[in-house]
Amino acid sequence: MRLQLSRSRLIAGLVLAIAAASARPARATNTAEAAVRTTMFDEPSSKNTGVRVYHPQVDVSATVASTLAIAAGYSADVVTGATPATFDAVSAATKFSDTRHLGHVSAGFDRADGGIAFSFAYGTESDYRSTVFSATTHHDLYEHNFTLALAYSHNWDRVCDADNTAAAGQVLYLVALPSSAGCFTNTPGIVTQKLNIDTLEPSLSWTMTPRLVIQGGATIQILDGFQANPYRKVLVGSQGHTPQEHLPNFRQRYALFFRLAYAFPELRASALAMLRGYEDSWAVRAITADVTGTKYIGQFLLVSGRAHWHEQGGASFYRDAEGYRILGPAGQYWTGDRELSPMGNYLFGGKIAFFRRPQQERSSWFVEMELGGKYEFLLYRPQSEFAPNADRKFAHIVQGAFAMRF
């Protein structure tokens, strides 16, 4: 699968999210919840079929005796598409399809002024396996006006790769993995690479006024191991070398973020905002802003609009396809990854949710039912026509969700 590194980061993030949710104080009226959600991500290409991903999610959670929160879930990625043509040495894009499965369980213990939660997740696909453990704790201070939280996760990931011992350290002769056939089966010519990821995220929230909550925090992530796309070839130099993508084995990533939520009671609405600065040891720098406005309409409808902006510089060893071809590599590393290129994107979208809450006096087997739908449009701004994935200018994100709370 061509997206495995992002997968590992995603799994770590997902596990932190689930663990954080488990550590959050449970609402007295909700003792159990079941939710299903399906997201379709469609990224058309001007040169081939692009990429389409279906991402179903199923989650259940329950609170026992008001203090013990348990949760379990399953999600999958069904990916079909074609590799971007620009950076692959092959002139025609190659079609691929893969399915990833991810399961997770978590348990949390809550007190009146704090809580702790632990989570475990396992993800598998034809060429990537991920085992993640995470722990999250939070503690309320000064009459619940401050919340100090800390989340940590560790990934033990395994990546399928071509056996490049024959290259004997000559990185220009690294060969790419042709397909995922034979991965994790001791097949000659195929090896398993390790990748360990540690993620730490402290944050402090402050309830400033009856209308305003702010939060500041940091994210620190250290990756140690194989981080390249084993399938990707990059054309480097005028002599026509097409080695496998080659990235450093070690990466340190840091982010500082600030978030707020502000209520507009006269409008029955709220605004959520996030601002993030990011830097890493590969010299990628980024700034990201996200704003969401949400409003009740009547008793049963909730509508929201979202805008997201991201701008980043490229990694120190990044060049676009023409740069690598004409100038050669910038040092001993090369990449065809859009995430490591100087680029930006905009995201705009909206969401609508319908709620059904039976009256208290009536006998009902559920507390709340929620049915929602979302559409978002993601617009990419690559720096040049030779940048990775420059043939993919935009993407559509469509989502449907259904939840029952008991």
């Binding site: 999610q57 925090g217 973020f257 209520a263 994107n345």
Partner: protein, 76 residues
């Protein structure tokens, strides 16, 4: 000079650790009606958040900023 700085730090620390002084700026439980609403939660739906991160983690070179668990809930 040093003693002046130390005195200021001491006063600041006393203000910070003194619950009485902080209470001037704290939000009382009866003032948390708006904050307890779902639309005021920084991380109201972990499943939706995971799906959002799933999309953007694959398409941006940065991480973080999603927080862990935030304050503002009046549940307690």
């Amino acid at each position: 000079m040093h003693s002046q700085c130390f005195s200021k730090l001491l006063i600041l620390a006393a203000l910070l650790v003194g619950g009485c002084s902080i209470s001037k700026w704290t939000v009382k439980p009866h003032q948390r009606e708006l904050l307890a609403d779902r639309i005021m939660q920084l991380d109201s739906d972990p499943q939706e958040r995971a799906a959002e991160e799933h999309v953007l983690a694959n398409r941006e070179g940065a991480i973080g900023g999603t927080g862990t668990s935030g304050g503002g809930c009046g549940c307690n």
